[in-house]
Amino acid sequence: MADSEAILAPQEPGLRHHFDDSAQQLESSTLGMWVFLVTEVMFFGGMFGAYTVYRNMYPEAFASTSHFMNVTIGAINTGVLIFSSFTMVLAVRSAQLGQKKALIAFLVLTLILGCVFLSLKYVEYHEKWVDHHIPGPGFQYADSRYAHQAQILFYLYFAMTGMHAIHMIVGAGLLITLIVMAARNRFTSKWYTPVEMIGLYWHFVDIVWIFLFPLLYLIGHTK
């Protein structure tokens, strides 16, 4: 045991035993987070693939369903999410500058904005429920031309926004963890890697929405 401890580097704050120094640890965390986000791109990519195929197959049906999307809520939600990305980046900046109060304030603000997004999403889902636009046995569609195709497109709508919402909920959970950690003085201006990493995740979820919004709500809207 003594032998193996001989090669351990002296401890730095937040440094795990198997790294040489915090620079190496940060590099690993950052690269790891990015590789994870790449897998997320491919995860959503499967659904974007299905979307591309069906949009190409049934363009009119798609234009037809986009009339039932609530563009107002969609646009507001886009703004909310962008705003939350802005507060998130300010939270990371505060952590970098070691400003604990600002860090907590921005994290809480980000969390609130995330909850606003999810609430508005709930309103939208409820509308779909009332209109019988939830795919499944109860699905009904006014335009009989697209009765079937519209169901596939609503299926994709729910799959994509649903997956996105699940990512938002996970992100909210992570934000709560960060807030608790920040309150317990776990971060310093030298070590705030979790804030940075979860920030990256939050921005990624934002980017997914930036693409979902035009694809699901706007395209074909004029027809």
Binding site: W34, V38, I82, V89, I207, F213
Partner: protein, 100 residues
């Protein structure tokens, strides 16, 4: 950690740009532009995504390895979409569907 903190006004500018672009994409979607509706919407989305990646996610100052992985992610997404479409778009090319 290894970088200087970015001034708040840079972030604020990016934030403003993102909001303006969102408003633009909604406005443009009301116009009848045919095929260009799709192109404009996607172009704006790509610009917005790039702004977030470059500034909020700080990729413009990231290591080239990180950039390589991000590039790879989008390249592979492109592989999936392009090769999927290669099937669907070329299915009707042969006249053998007129089999009678």
């Amino acid at each position: 950690m290894t970088h200087q903190a970015v001034p708040v006004k840079v972030y604020a500018a990016v934030f403003g740009a993102l909001l303006v672009l969102t408003a633009t994409t909604v406005a443009v979607s009301k116009l009848e532009l045919g095929e260009y509706n799709f192109i404009v919407a996607m172009t704006i989305a790509v610009i917005k995504g790039t702004l977030v990646v470059m500034f909020f996610m700080d990729v413009r100052r990231a290591s080239s390895m990180t950039k390589l992985f991000i590039g790879a992610g989008f390249f592979w997404l492109a592989i999936l979409l392009v090769f999927l479409l290669s099937d669907y778009l070329s299915r009707g090319w042969l006249l053998n569907i007129h089999w009678l």
